[in-house]
Symmetry: C2
Subunit: 202 residues, 2 copies
């Protein structure tokens, strides 16, 4: 088994899907969280000035979704064929589109643009959530193929961050997504991780 170190800010956010996959699979990893004041020193050591970065036996890789896909393949969380993997990949990218739209206001510092982005998000969230909820309903209680994949794990791992950014519980009215959350959080490795992980608001 390779030696893994995952470096990120001291939050869930983009690193949490990777932490969930490691935990699901029972794979040990160093959960390296740096203080925000150290970011400017760490940034130049990363491939493209961004985190999370995963160190695999001394080799650094970036991009959280690419890392999650790679680990999912190693641990039985990918689709059964290329077509299912296409559905999974599309779903994950859609989840990240939703994330970018929900979070846009937070990273905007011009007040008018900030207010406009928060308002745009409040219209977009129901549009996305209704469709994602229907997708789970249509596919046997999971996003793709009637079984647990890293698309399900990605969504549930990001939920705390999405809710923090949206400023409300975005799946409050989405019965299929709520049931999916319970299924993911009841996986023994994930359940144990959620109990022991550092308590952070996003």
């Amino acid at each position: 088994m390779p030696s893994y170190k995952l470096t990120y800010f001291p939050v869930k956010a983009l690193a949490e899907p990777i932490r969930f996959i490691f935990s699901y699979a029972g794979v040990d990893f160093v959960d390296d969280r740096f203080d925000r004041e150290d970011w400017l020193n760490i940034k130049p050591t990363t491939p493209f000035g961004q985190v999370p970065v995963l160190d695999v036996d001394g080799k650094k890789v970036n991009q959280s979704t690419a890392i999650a896909r790679y680990l999912a393949k190693q641990h039985g969380l990918a689709g059964k064929d290329d077509w299912e993997n296409l559905q999974i990949d599309a779903t994950v990218d859609t989840i990240h589109d939703l994330r970018a739209k929900i979070a846009a206001h937070h990273y905007e510092n011009q007040p008018e643009a900030k207010a406009q982005k928060l308002e745009a998000a409040s219209e977009l969230v129901p549009f996305y959530i209704e469709r994602l909820d229907q997708q789970v309903k249509n596919n046997g209680g999971y996003f793709v193929g009637g079984k647990l994949t890293w698309a399900d794990i990605t969504f549930v791992a990001l939920l705390d961050y999405l809710n923090f950014m949206a400023q409300y519980d975005i799946i409050k009215k989405a019965e299929n997504l709520k049931a999916l959350r319970e299924k993911v959080l009841s996986q023994p490795g994930i359940k144990s991780w959620v109990q022991k992980r550092p308590d952070t608001e996003m």
Copy 2:
């Protein structure tokens, strides 16, 4: 061979990597470009209100990167193993991060935020381009594994859009990326596509 129809705005932008992969592989596809005034009628027919959408024997799939990855696997443009595919996926997502940063000003309608985003892009472009250029230099003239993959095709297919949004030639000083562009554009199927495709500015 399945029957493919690719639906998008009448521009290169996010559909062009998919069109390049089809052309590279000599696969016929319907290049379905709709008029901008029809978008509000087409939007509700898409899975998540976005295009491009690829119709494969009547089944619709969305998300351009997921579609490109799927087609790349079918046509010999993926990596040789999971580790190479991780590098390819990370590179493609980094290219799309760069794209989002370059294009942010275009989709912002608040003047102050718009100006700030254009300025931020002008600082970020050299940072990304230097690193991408070095990556090609380090990997035998391609982004990953010393041979043509869909990461190379994605970058070159998006270049006209990136340059349009940046308002200058972003690889002007990047010798390795310029050589990569020539290698991609000299692939017979891609060369033929570029000669016959509709002439659009982005």
